[in-house]
Symmetry: C2
Amino acid sequence: MSKFRYRISFLILICTGVCASSFAQEKVLLAADFISEKDSDVVPGVLKLLKEAKDRKVSKIIFQPGTYHFYDDHAFEKYAFISNHDSGPRRMAFPIIDFHGLEIDGGGAKFIMHGLIIPFAIENSSDITIRNLSVNWFRPTHSELVVAGVSSDASDPYIDFGITDQYPYEIKNGELIFIKKGFEHNLENAVYWDRATDAVAFQSRAMTPPMNQAVKRSVANLKDKEPILYPVDNNDPAFRNRSIENSLIATQLSPGLVRVRGVKPNLPKIGWVLVAKGRNGYNRLAPAFRLIRSERLQVNNVTVHHASGMGLIAESCRDITLTRFNVRPDEADGRTIATTADATHFVGCRGEIKMEECTFENQFDDATNIHGTYFEVTDLDGKTAGLRVGHFQQTGYEFARPGDTVVAVNPRSSAKALTSLTVDSIRMINPRYFRIYFKETAEQLKKGFYLENISAYPTVEISNSRIVNNRARGFLISTPRRTIIQGNTFSNMMSAIQCPNEFTFWYESGFVRDLTIRNNTFLDGSYGPPKPLALINVMAHADQGEYIHGKIVIENNTFTTFASAILSAQNTQNIIFRNNVIRYSGKYPLNADNPVVKLQNVFRADITGNRYDAAFKNFIFTEPLPGKLIDQSNRQIGSASK
Amino acid sequence: MSKFRYRISFLILICTGVCASSFAQEKVLLAADFISEKDSDVVPGVLKLLKEAKDRKVSKIIFQPGTYHFYDDHAFEKYAFISNHDSGPRRMAFPIIDFHGLEIDGGGAKFIMHGLIIPFAIENSSDITIRNLSVNWFRPTHSELVVAGVSSDASDPYIDFGITDQYPYEIKNGELIFIKKGFEHNLENAVYWDRATDAVAFQSRAMTPPMNQAVKRSVANLKDKEPILYPVDNNDPAFRNRSIENSLIATQLSPGLVRVRGVKPNLPKIGWVLVAKGRNGYNRLAPAFRLIRSERLQVNNVTVHHASGMGLIAESCRDITLTRFNVRPDEADGRTIATTADATHFVGCRGEIKMEECTFENQFDDATNIHGTYFEVTDLDGKTAGLRVGHFQQTGYEFARPGDTVVAVNPRSSAKALTSLTVDSIRMINPRYFRIYFKETAEQLKKGFYLENISAYPTVEISNSRIVNNRARGFLISTPRRTIIQGNTFSNMMSAIQCPNEFTFWYESGFVRDLTIRNNTFLDGSYGPPKPLALINVMAHADQGEYIHGKIVIENNTFTTFASAILSAQNTQNIIFRNNVIRYSGKYPLNADNPVVKLQNVFRADITGNRYDAAFKNFIFTEPLPGKLIDQSNRQIGSASK
């Protein structure tokens, strides 16, 4: 009987999809009634489609397979403060704003963007599903240069770069500028990828060209500056380029072949690819998925081949599930990287973040980062405080909601909560300066303390995903709620998993209390920096004996890598590291400088039943533990590689 | 009896002002209860003051005399599309938004701004009066350089500039960059002022340094550009710097003395002041008064000593009166110019614009410009059309309101209205692209036509004002409603009064139907360009026999200037030029190249009773008039100066 009902539903579903457009009462819309592959620009049609969907409370939109082009010219625009991005007025291909209960099934369609446009902007919405489609850009917002030659004279180091027609450029006053639709970028923020490994070139940081240098000669007259009453964010684009000039001087040898002087004497290898995205403040302009103030969101079977910024950035959302959400280049494009920043990123989210069977390959930054945000107390008056936003890419961020619990920390000591307050309301005076009103008098709060919203952290589960060949790290985890990382494969330029806990640069808040890392495969990692960092790196901002992090279980993982630094943990209550297998990979020259396990200011640890490659001689280093150290059944095994 | 009642009211008024703060029911607030001259930054106090004023429906705020400093750091911010300015998120010292019936009496106070902040932003408000105060910036947003020396070798022209500590700078990659609070600017958009005349240097345009030059050598590889579906605005900052590089190479001789090469061989005089405001798109960032969607506004006895952009810009407002509204440098600052753009500017305003006894001296652009805005029809569908915004400084402009009458013109022929439509509604898709809905089917509308909002023009009266020593023009008048210009004194770098009528660059709409210019004093004008333009210049975009302008009366004025070009009129129905006295000033070398009166495609003219200097030999040149030409009682008089 239930089987029969299922079949009927299925038939109705088929009919709905096919016949929807002719029956006004149906809740499904066919995109084909609004747009066609033949349209040079589907943006106006998609806007009509979305308006119709909202007006008729449509629950599903179905696309025909095909390739659709989206231009920014006639797209909807709204000012967007986007955390960890460059905020501004932003065009949007799918402005899914104030929608409740909508599924978009791409049917395998390819959506190609032209210009600075956010493909999916989901805002103030709930129960939204996006599935079965890919997102790409006709021309990427970054540029790639192939090392075609290098100087043999160390006193006059230069690099000759080959640049394909995909990356139009010009040279202005010696500066190599790449021309995009509506913007341009220079050679700042560049990293070498090695085509042989498809990864960031081994220990290449030393070769990455310095893009700018301080004005060296006395050519500034800055004596009589404006008085400064308030702290300045020197990372802000309005200030960050002060007193630095371009040090990379380009000349064209022939069209598509450019010689660059001013590089480090330590030269890259021929064939390496220099991936450049330009100045900070102008290289995170249009993430592929932008989610804000929304809940119950699913993205399934979606691939992001490029974005200016992140593949997916979610702020102040609740309950997000990504299944087979992939960030990777499209082979047909011949590009080395996909997104110019993280694959995914979650700020101030609640409920559950779940990722399954995702692939995050060859993006310019971390695979994910899950955290909150610190706001600094600048002035106090009874039940209210003025709050300063520390980082320019957090301006306009929705820090808290009425009823939230916020805690205060003293950034000069540690991340330990010193006082707890309930939010009555919060008001943005300007994107850098907020006013918060508490339900209680904030007696213990002090000017200079940082506030952290303890109500806005999610539980996390990331399973069976592949995180390889990206710049920077795999996962940055800063949530005190239950977090499980299992069945994933990692191979990253820096650490695979990091619990950062810092508030001096990024102002990203958070710590872990209940983190489990099990059944993962860790391949070569931390191959970018000159000295390898631990693949699992649990850090604390200050060391005053506080146990900032809680319980961390790392079990049944295999590590196959070139360097011995596997786990480093600081300021943690309880570390359980058991039944892991650790082998030398042979892929890069052996580095056994560090112990496999390094514990600093840890209260209790259980390091049991691990097997480690004989090449990694030094298994454990620990400071004295006030609690207990169980260190048993750990044994060397024969080296996996020569 | 009535006298007695007056006295009582007066006493009550005095008491109100003095006692207000202690009686919650009073309608007057004293600023001194919120701020003090001792505050390093009065912005937070002024925000509280305004909140209190709104909550308590206060009708008047009174300041104590004194100097008050306003910093942008903690100021209210709102995104602002500002016509003829660079739009963006803007800080505001006085965000007068949704106020109805408020007078702010500055009591002679000086308001000093720090950073990019709009002193007075009046939005969605009515019955607002601002009086008795001045606005200035601690550091101006432009920079001034004094010519300290020039090369004597014509094959290697250079200029040595002296730069005081008021203008901190640095040199980056050979480019001279001036450092301000939160932004910087280069040497683009620069003009020489002559200290001897306090005006733009005579015919100095030929010496103004070319700030950028096209990339000359083949250093660009732009073969494979992104497909372009939509027109590009090459003036938009996103595009305007393509393929040009800095051609002015600076080196510091000693702190405060900078040598600039790459200048024209025609060199300036020692002592002249080069006033520079930097790249278009970044030099009109914070007007002193920003008025939008408001009505019954008065600004009385207010002086603007500086602003980044205009002294006052009003958009979509009704009924504005400026009395003794002055734009001029404060002598104490030693600056050559006040605002970096127009003194005043009115776009899409209705009702009456009235200016009396104003002074507009030494600003970087016109004294006023009163016009509408053309939007281009890009696509059509029955009763709706897509509209493109032509100029980047009109993006986001409120083109029309429901019920407005818009007319269409064909920009390839003339500004003559071809069809008239009634607006049902209009919606901004993005700041460059709007959708308009008409009450009728737009049968005669065609793609490529421009729409003009004929409902949004004001009547104008400008009396007894002084408009001297500014760059560019005096008044640009483009309103078909009654306009009277009387009792003013002009001396401008270009024309004193211009009726432009053009739609190829600025997209500023409008024409005159009923313009009277009487009893004014025109001193030397049009001394900037190599060939003088007529002091009163009535222009038309295209000449196809249409009489775009209506009746223009020019009577009882005196002109005392170096060049004979007094009136040039094109495409006008009826010109009356009578009883004017025209003399050679002797201030600059005589230029008698042009007739005093030049008429082209004018239907009817009455040129009567004028007296003109014998030095200006050629009195009238006219094309044949289909109507009548009265040319009588015009006579030469002895030359006033040799």
